[in-house]
């Protein structure tokens, strides 16, 4: 225990020294500029230097193996690295720059990929040079992903892909795509699906950004018209794409259960309420009904946080995920959406602000975040799908109403 600790502290020293030598001080306080999913910020000057240094060291993907461009660190070391970065105001832009590369594609390639695939795809992701998008949903295959219709036909040298994907986040600025496609039309819905990887910069691929109710979005419709994937870029086994895709989705779901405060309301909701609504002489919020609903929400939010902590504690040294984890997606969504609603209610008329000088940034962001947040109960396993999963997988109730 203390030997391990000593080793960890030694690593802390090394990390601190390397960061001091390599992180440009000019980037302190700039995290927000580079850590946004919505924009394709150009990497120049110090930012480019920092990305390059981080990529060469492998610390943009600290726990990936060194042979594929990662840092080869343990989870504990990675946490120490994060602490040290946080301490000096450093940040890691590579997971953002890589789109779905670091969070979803990478781990799945590590698990399912051939040695060749690992060699070709992982290092560019680890260096933050290649951005990935994912082709999953289709206009007629949302929650029911198994009914997807985009086809890939074996043309000897390559796969020829035809069809349409939707909700491909960042498709218009990505270099590579991983997509679920139908490679056998003669078998059951979940069979006959494969996972292909291919470059976006080719004649057969066209993207169209989707405008959302909250305004511009990273999402696209993506059209494949005789697009091509190299034969060596089939990930996992032929017609076994369903399990590859499911694994990827698990990574997505894990990233959605934090119940992180939505934009425009990162501060404490009770402070916001005090500011907009005010307290009476007894120290109570001037809106008695709001006061009690706000209290209820804060209890809900706290309970969700306690559950996150409990799941983490129960999982420690326990390979199997605890059953309680199954509730986190819906619970996180409930808390985040309620928070967004309360934020607007607290802001009153200003919680209707769309643009213009009459509203401040916090208000306008809150309105946009409220709208964007409605997607939380739709994507990554809708509210209803999550309840199906709990009902069937956790509670062991029969599944009669879902065929296919």
């Amino acid at each position: 225990m203390s030997e391990a600790n000593a080793k960890l502290e030694q690593f802390r020293g090394e990390a601190r020294a390397w960061l001091a030598a390599n992180f440009p001080r000019s980037l302190v306080g700039k995290a927000a500029v580079y850590m946004t999913y919505d924009l394709d910020v150009p990497m120049e000057g110090d930012a480019l230097a920092w990305r390059t240094a981080l990529g060469e060291k492998g610390w943009g993907t600290p726990t990936w193996p060194t042979e594929y461009g990662g840092g080869g660190l343990s989870q504990m070391e990675a946490r120490v690295l994060q602490e040290e970065m946080h301490a000096i105001g450093a940040f890691n832009p590579i997971p953002i720059l890589a789109g779905m590369g670091v969070t979803m594609v990478g781990p799945t390639v590590l698990e399912y990929g051939t040695e060749d695939q690992k060699q070709r795809h992982l290092p560019p992701i680890a260096r933050g040079e290649v951005r990935w998008c994912l082709g999953y949903s289709e206009p007629n295959a949302g929650s029911d992903l198994a009914s997807l219709a985009t086809k890939a036909v074996d043309k000897g040298d390559y796969w020829e892909i035809n069809g349409q994907k939707i909700w491909t986040s960042g498709a218009d600025i990505s270099q590579w795509c991983g997509a679920l496609v139908r490679t056998d039309v003669n078998v059951g819905k979940r069979d006959g699906i494969s996972f292909l990887m291919f470059p976006m910069d080719q004649p057969g691929v066209r993207t169209r950004p989707i405008k959302l109710i909250a305004g511009a979005s990273p999402f696209c419709e993506t059209f494949f018209d005789n697009a091509r994937a190299d034969k060596k870029d089939l990930l996992g086994k032929l017609n076994d794409g369903w399990s590859v895709g499911k694994r990827l989705l698990q990574h997505e779901r894990q990233s959605q259960t934090g119940g992180a405060p939505m934009g425009g309301g990162g501060g404490s909701l009770q402070e916001l309420a005090k500011k907009y609504v005010g307290l009476d002489s007894a120290g109570k919020l001037r809106d008695e009904d709001l006061r009690l609903r706000l209290a209820q929400h804060l209890m809900d939010a706290k309970t969700h946080s306690l559950t996150l902590a409990r799941v983490a504690a129960e999982s420690r040294g326990n390979a199997k995920v605890t059953a309680a984890a199954s509730i986190l997606k819906n619970s996180a969504t409930h808390v985040a959406q309620a928070r967004a609603e309360l934020t607007l209610e607290i802001m009153g008329g200003n919680g209707l602000g769309w643009e213009g000088e009459s509203f401040n940034d916090e208000e306008i962001n809150a309105v946009r975040a409220w709208l964007s947040g409605k997607a939380m109960s739709i994507y990554g396993g809708s509210f209803e799908i999550q309840n199906n999963i709990i009902s069937k997988n956790i509670l062991g109730l029969p599944e009669t109403t879902q065929k296919g």
Binding site: W167, K211, E345, G349, N350, L352, K374, G404
Partner: protein
């Protein structure tokens, strides 16, 4: 819906037909995309005036049809369904109510005919902060030699960009929070002492902030009694609330209709999604809530028409019930439509945004729940 008389049935059918042709949600989209700062098209408003809608509440001697609030509610409900943008609620109901309830003979004669023919747009300026708080009115009206001088701010004035006249709730005595000391004024929107800021809100309606800089008005501008305008203001607001509730009911029932249609046509897992019992029961519960909300809305409008003693409670009730249903329904409209519901190309977002805006207008559910308790004496 309430058993309609023949006149009401004809008017309702006329409204449905006209809105279908002239004011569907596609027209609202076009208006929004055009960036029109007023939030409605003049042609739409003129057509409504031609059909006599702004005069539905106005007595016949002043050029209206005097058909009452339940009838007005039928029109508002239909407009709410398609989000048809116009100052009908703000002027034809709220403005007209202010004149009818508070105007003297001269004011009525001067103003009501022009409200009825749509040539004047009279709206109420009540709130002064981000929250609905009629008790907290502080805009000062100081007595002068010839009348009063108004100074202060009014926020989120509905159709405040297009208004030709404002009914302004001001304080002539006491302090913010006092029940007494409120006086209503009818002021010309073009006066020098008023400046307007048009707002760009999520629901694309024509709100404005107003600033009164020592605006001088004569005694003739007073609507009702000096210092005792609180009760008049409440009466106007209650009518406004029932009117908004009717619009909310329309907006929500259209969201219900769109959702039901989708449940019957969208297929997932090999069947239409309405065949999933969880969604079928949710639809049944939404339908139940819709029917209950309708009773509350029609009950409030009928209570106003009957000059019943419980108008305040009924109006708070209707705003609450319509609000709760519209909130749930607009969210389910998105949820059940899934990804497509999140796109701007589909109309669901309009309904969600409008729902949030109507919820804040003239008091949200929390405001009216607490008010209902107070009205019930506990």
């Amino acid at each position: 819906m309430a058993a309609l008389n023949e006149e009401q049935s004809i008017l309702k059918d006329q409204a449905i037909a006209w809105i279908n042709d002239n004011g569907p949600v596609a027209a609202f989209r076009a208006m929004r995309d055009s960036g029109n700062p007023l939030g409605f098209e003049q042609a739409t408003w003129s057509a409504m005036a031609d059909m006599g809608w702004p005069g539905i509440l106005v007595p016949e001697e002043f050029g209206g049809s005097n058909l009452g609030y339940l009838t007005f509610g039928l029109i508002l409900e239909e407009l709410g369904k398609q989000l048809t943008a116009s100052p009908l609620l703000a002027s034809g109901l709220v403005g007209a109510a202010a004149l009818i309830l508070g105007g003297n003979a001269a004011q009525k004669k001067a103003c009501l005919p022009r409200i009825a023919d749509g040539s004047r747009i009279v709206t109420l300026a009540v709130d002064e902060s981000t929250r609905h708080d009629p008790a907290g009115i502080a805009l000062a009206a100081h007595k002068t030699a010839n009348g009063f001088a108004l100074s202060g701010d009014k926020c989120f004035v509905v159709e405040g960009g297009a208004a030709t006249d404002f009914v302004v709730a001001a304080r002539t005595a006491g302090n913010a929070g006092d029940a007494n000391g409120i006086t209503l004024f009818l002021v010309d929107g073009a006066a020098d002492g008023i400046s307007r800021t048009l707002l760009r809100t999520a629901d694309s309606r024509g709100y404005a902030h107003l600033k009164f800089a020592n605006l001088e008005v004569s005694h003739a501008a007073v609507l009702g009694d000096v210092d005792n305008g609180g009760a008049l203001l409440d009466a106007i607001l209650d009518r406004a609330r029932a009117g908004v509730a009717a619009e909310m009911l329309g907006t929500a029932s259209q969201a219900f209709a769109m959702t039901l249609e989708y449940l019957k046509t969208r297929k997932q897992f090999g069947q239409v999604i309405g065949a999933f019992q969880a969604l079928g029961h949710r639809a049944a519960e939404l339908y139940t809530e819709m029917e209950l909300a309708r009773s509350a809305v029609e009950g409030a409008l009928a209570a106003i028409d009957a000059d019943a003693a419980d108008v305040p409670a009924m109006c708070s009730l209707s705003k609450c019930k319509a609000g709760a249903f519209l909130f749930r329904m607009s969210n389910q409209l998105i949820q059940i439509h899934g990804g497509i519901g999140m796109t701007d190309e589909f109309d669901a977002g309009f309904y969600l945004k409008r729902a949030r805006a109507l919820e804040t207008m003239y008091g949200n559910q929390g405001f009216h729940r607490a008010r209902f308790a107070t009205l019930m004496g506990f």
